[in-house]
């Protein structure tokens, strides 16, 4: 499962070329949120964007996802410029954003329904994914009837249902308590090993980034720019208490300060 050299070998799945973002485009005096971001992300690579609040990591993720337009530069997926949301990019947000009027199963099947997948097949896919995220028996529960961790599991299953090549995750575990959060990190790695995807994961937890990713991209704020990259060459599953991990944690922490 772990292949430290993969990101160096694999061709770029996502190419971020000179992306800048300024929210009030008509006023050149407003500060840039993102300033000339260049980044190549390999196929099946797990990349984490880390940085303080206001470093533009969520904005960058939304630009990759096609939800926000960049002011300059563009993002290419498979060599094609991103022009809008959808198109093989699944997203998971900090607030699970499940559809409250749909059951867990229906939420997971939502994307397939849009693609016109028949009910039988849709239900089969949804059941499999519900199983995968460990929610067997909760298929017919509504989001309000699930705990925070369960809701986020459903959200991950929903993002996977249309089998996107890219999974974009915006602090998906940020609203969870510490224990659930650790559990969900292991869960995500398990799901990721079963369904290989290119993952871009936003977090402000260094330890979360270290446990999960192939590469940590550290962003600096005002304007948001890449400060440093840290490849994480350790095989998974990783021990959070591994001395090498702790050394890397310190390294990232110092770069952040």
């Amino acid at each position: 499962m772990a292949d430290p050299a993969r990101s160096d070998v694999a061709p770029s799945k996502i190419e971020i070329c000179g992306v800048s973002k300024r929210y009030a485009t008509d006023d050149p005096d407003t500060p840039l949120v993102l300033d000339n971001i260049n980044l190549a992300i390999g196929d099946n690579e797990f990349v984490t964007l880390v940085g303080r609040s206001g470093c533009g990591k969520t904005t960058l993720l939304n630009i990759i996802g096609g939800l926000v337009e960049s002011t300059h530069g563009d993002v290419k997926v498979n060599g094609r410029t991103v022009s809008g949301p959808g198109q093989g990019k699944g997203m998971v947000f900090q607030q699970h954003a499940l559809f409250p009027w749909l059951t867990a199963l229906q939420n997971v099947g939502f994307g397939c329904r849009n693609k016109g997948v028949h009910k039988a097949e849709r239900d089969q896919i949804a059941h499999q994914l519900i199983e995968l995220v460990g929610l067997h028996g909760f298929e017919d529960k509504y989001p309000a009837e699930l705990s925070g961790g369960m809701q986020q599991r459903v959200a991950i299953a929903r993002a996977l249902a249309t089998d996107p090549e890219i999974l974009l995750m915006d602090e998906p575990f940020g609203a969870l308590d510490e224990l659930t959060r650790l559990e969900m990190q292991d869960e995500l790695l398990r799901v990721w090993s079963a369904h290989k995807k290119t993952v871009v994961f936003v977090t402000h937890s260094i330890s979360e980034a270290l446990v999960l990713s192939d590469r940590v991209i550290l962003l600096a704020a005002r304007p948001g720019r890449i400060r440093r990259e840290f490849p994480i060459p350790f095989p998974r599953p990783r021990k959070r208490t591994d001395p090498q991990m702790i050394a890397l944690y310190d390294d990232i922490w110092k770069s952040l300060a």
Partner: protein
């Protein structure tokens, strides 16, 4: 536990209503209140059933329900469509909102004279006034529901490849449903109130007419009976609408 609490509440509520009726009954029977002015509920009901044929009463009820059905249906459909469209298409909202805010505070009854001039004394003038009673609460709550949609839900819909009308139908409208349901319930109550008032003014059938006619005849029993009847029918229909709403959205939305 919740169920037993609900039961207790229901029993307590029924006891309160029953107690009030009992007091009323006793006050009237003991001669504390003159029966000629305010007859006991049983006196009014028995007295009416003895003087007015049941078929006539049912006819009045049927006529009223027909009017309210058309007025309310028109108000609900137009209110829902305009409210949702105004919340979805920003430009339309900018256009319709001030107009709706301007007209909304006007009591529907103030329109009656104009309605009579426009539509005459027949059915359309009553349906129109009832329509106004239903339309404004529904259009307003539909709009509010649309404006208040969690933007994250729309973003998710977009990432799932939905846009335009499909995003509206599959995400926005269901998300606005709880607010819309509230509006529909308020609209029903309001159009019911407007109905009786409209019938008091110009009608030859209907529950409002029955009451007004009884006043001219000096038949207090029928007046009291009519008031009880209107209350009871409103209660039943409101409960039915509430039950339908709970069935539709009660599991995912606490009402």
């Amino acid at each position: 536990m919740t169920t037993s609490v609900r039961w207790q509440d229901a029993v307590l509520g029924a006891a309160g209503t029953g107690g009030l009726f009992l007091l009323w009954e006793l006050a009237s029977r003991s001669g504390l209140v003159s029966t000629n002015v305010f007859p006991a509920p049983t006196t009014a009901i028995i007295g009416t059933l003895q003087t007015v044929p049941l078929a006539d009463i049912l006819g009045h009820v049927w006529t009223s329900l027909g009017r309210i059905f058309w007025g309310f249906a028109l108000g609900a459909v137009l209110g829902t469509v305009i409210g949702i469209a105004s919340g979805w298409y920003r430009a339309l909202g900018v256009l319709t909102r001030p107009l709706i805010e301007l007209l909304r505070p006007i009591p529907p009854l103030a329109w009656i004279p104009l309605a009579i001039i426009w539509f005459g004394l027949g059915e359309p003038s009553k349906v129109f006034v009832i329509f106004l009673g239903a339309f404004f609460p529904i259009v307003t709550s539909a709009y509010r529901g649309m404006i208040g949609i969690d933007p994250a839900l729309l973003r998710v819909g977009q990432t799932m490849g939905l846009r335009g009308p499909m995003l509206l139908i599959r995400v926005a409208v269901p998300a606005a449903m709880p607010d819309l349901a509230t509006g529909i319930r308020i609209g029903w109550g309001l159009s019911f109130g407007v109905l009786v008032a409209a019938e008091l003014i110009a009608a030859d059938r209907g529950m409002g007419f029955m009451i007004m006619n009884a006043r001219q005849l000096g038949d207090v029993d029928v007046i009291v009976f009519g008031i009880i009847l209107i209350g009871a029918i409103n209660l039943i229909t409101d409960y039915a609408i509430g039950a339908v709403i709970r069935r539709r959205i009660g599991r995912w939305h606490a009402i």
